[in-house]
């Protein structure tokens, strides 16, 4: 009997403590980041979809179309074509297509590239009503558009 009453009182006390905890939180500031109006900064290593990188000095795309990335990609979502420009020993990229609908953002392609020609973008709010928009993203075009901006 005594034990039961004691447990009952302890129980009531625990309920009151719970109420006190939530009330304390009630008067604190919300922690939500109000997304479309406030935007958090992305960390430097954020893995968005891949983009082609330009060489600082020459201003040309670094990619030498060696197809290493195409081979390592687990999802088969890269297609690279390259050609030797007249008078040059190395190849240059002519076409770089990414199927972003399949990409798992694993980053293996960026890691494997021997000349560091790939990087992650920080674009995350990608949306479209047409699948085709992301099924075959032309990264060469994207690099040009990026320069124009």
């Amino acid at each position: 009997m005594v034990a039961a009453i004691k447990e009952f009182c302890l129980g009531l006390h625990s309920l009151a403590t719970g109420l006190a905890v939530t009330l304390e939180q009630f008067f604190r500031r919300p922690v939500t980041v109000h997304y479309p109006w406030e935007v958090l900064e992305l960390p430097a290593r954020y893995r968005g979809h891949i983009v082609l990188v330009r060489d600082e000095q020459t201003g040309r795309l670094r990619c030498i179309a060696c197809k290493m990335c195409e081979r390592i990609c687990p999802s088969d979502c890269i297609v690279v074509e390259g050609a030797k420009l007249p008078g040059e020993s190395r190849k240059s990229v002519t076409e770089f297509k990414l199927d972003f609908t399949k990409c798992s953002l694993c980053g293996l392609c960026v890691e494997v590239c021997p000349v560091d020609a790939l990087a992650f973008s920080k674009r995350y709010n990608l949306a479209s009503t047409r699948k085709a928009d992301y099924e075959s993203m032309d990264l060469c075009e994207l690099a040009k558009a990026g320069d124009a901006k």
């Binding site: 309920l15 905890v21 390592i72 980053g107």
Partner: protein, 379 residues
């Protein structure tokens, strides 16, 4: 005391009762994912429970047989997305064992830190979701607030928030910076305070205690029968933890306890996980204090991964229990067989037997206390 109820076997001679089948899921708020339960009910009592799985089957094992070792790297973190680091850990370690690669100590320490952070994050999700099952919504939001802090830390290091893909054969894909170390230290302090709050708000709560104590008792024998591991087994009083029993990585260098409670009820499993958060914080603190300088990538990693023919095995303690990979290599670039032993599958298996005779409400509490990730069951 939960009122007992005669189950199937004990009343076979009695007059047949009117029963009905209640289909819970695959879209049901309590199953957290695409799990389906066929419950044979007598009123509110569960006479028979049959989990139906396979709705999220993605053939990870078969995928392993079709791609090179490197190409499989993104997969482990997608089997159990809440426990991504542990799964990566098992996969890179089994390949390292096959290749005989020595991993530099700094990399191993960082692996431990990130793994334990991941364990806390996983337990926090479980904490929130479990209380949601029990009808308390607020703790979920508090837990996610804390988890967000972990995800921010891990995102800054790995570049992603859930499917990290951070470990590599022989080390890590990149080193951590001072900011991460500071952030983790601050987090450990913060989390200790929050744990106190959780205990005040939830653990000691009368209603919660009454809902969990003595409910859904699982005996150690039942765990053994179905191969249940992790917090489920430890909640049945067996101090079984891969980190202690088959030490891997640098875990032997840290002091931590394996929390276990003999009751075997939902409360025991609850307490095991809450205590594990505290233990993980302890490990992180020690690992940060001891973090050695040096490279994070082994030097002698072959460009093309071709493990010698053989049979390799590696187990880790994931957030939900023992996760193990058995790798059979035929000496080519592609694994011959990659068998995944996922903890959720075994933990779910005992549900049918443990739920028998419970009220539906208690059966769902039991289901929640098993901490299932359905893609991990189906893999």
């Amino acid at each position: 005391m939960s009122p007992g109820h005669p189950t199937d076997s004990s009343v076979s001679a009695a007059a047949p009762r009117e029963t009905f089948v209640l289909n819970v899921g695959p879209q049901h708020p309590a199953t957290h994912g695409v799990l389906r339960l066929k419950l044979t009910m007598d009123g509110e009592y569960v006479l028979h429970a049959e989990p139906v799985i396979g709705y999220a089957h993605r053939m990870h094992e078969k995928m392993g047989e079709n791609r090179t070792y490197v190409q499989f790297l993104p997969n482990p973190s997608r089997i159990d997305y809440l426990s991504a680091m542990h799964y990566m850990h098992a996969y890179v370690c089994v390949v390292e064992r096959a290749l005989g690669i020595e991993v530099p100590p700094r990399a191993e320490y960082i692996r431990v830190i990130t793994s334990e952070l991941n364990r806390i994050a996983s337990h926090l999700v479980w904490f929130g979701a479990f209380l949601l099952d029990l009808g308390a919504f607020t703790p979920l939001l508090y837990a996610f607030d804390d988890r967000e802090k972990i995800l921010d830390l891990l995102e800054a290091v790995t570049g992603s928030r859930l499917t990290y893909c951070y470990y590599r054969f022989g080390g890590l894909c990149n080193d951590v910076d001072e900011q991460f170390i500071e952030g983790t230290r601050a987090f450990v302090k913060h989390m200790r305070g929050r744990l106190g709050m959780y205990h005040k708000l939830v653990t000691e709560n009368l209603i919660l205690r009454k809902r969990l104590e003595g409910i859904g008792v699982i005996s150690a024998e039942l765990c053994r029968k179905y191969g249940a591991t992790g917090p489920v087994l430890r909640g049945s009083g067996v101090p079984c933890d891969v980190r202690k029993l088959e030490p891997y990585s640098v875990y032997p260098e840290f002091e931590f306890d394996v929390p276990h409670f003999a009751e075997g009820d939902c409360m025991a499993r609850y307490k095991v996980r809450m205590e594990e958060i505290a233990q993980s914080l302890r490990i992180i603190e020690q690992a940060i204090a001891k973090l050695p300088p040096g490279p994070v990538m082994a030097e002698k990693v072959p460009r093309v991964i071709k493990p010698p023919p053989g049979d390799y095995y590696f187990a880790v303690e994931a957030a939900r229990g023992r996760f193990a990979i058995r790798l059979v290599s035929d000496g080519t670039e592609v694994p011959y067989r990659l068998k995944l032993r996922t903890p959720s599958f075994s933990n779910l298996a005992l549900f049918g037997e443990a739920a028998r005779g419970l009220l539906m409400q208690d059966a769902l509490a039991l289901l929640g206390s098993l901490d299932l990730v359905i893609p991990d069951v189906d893999r």
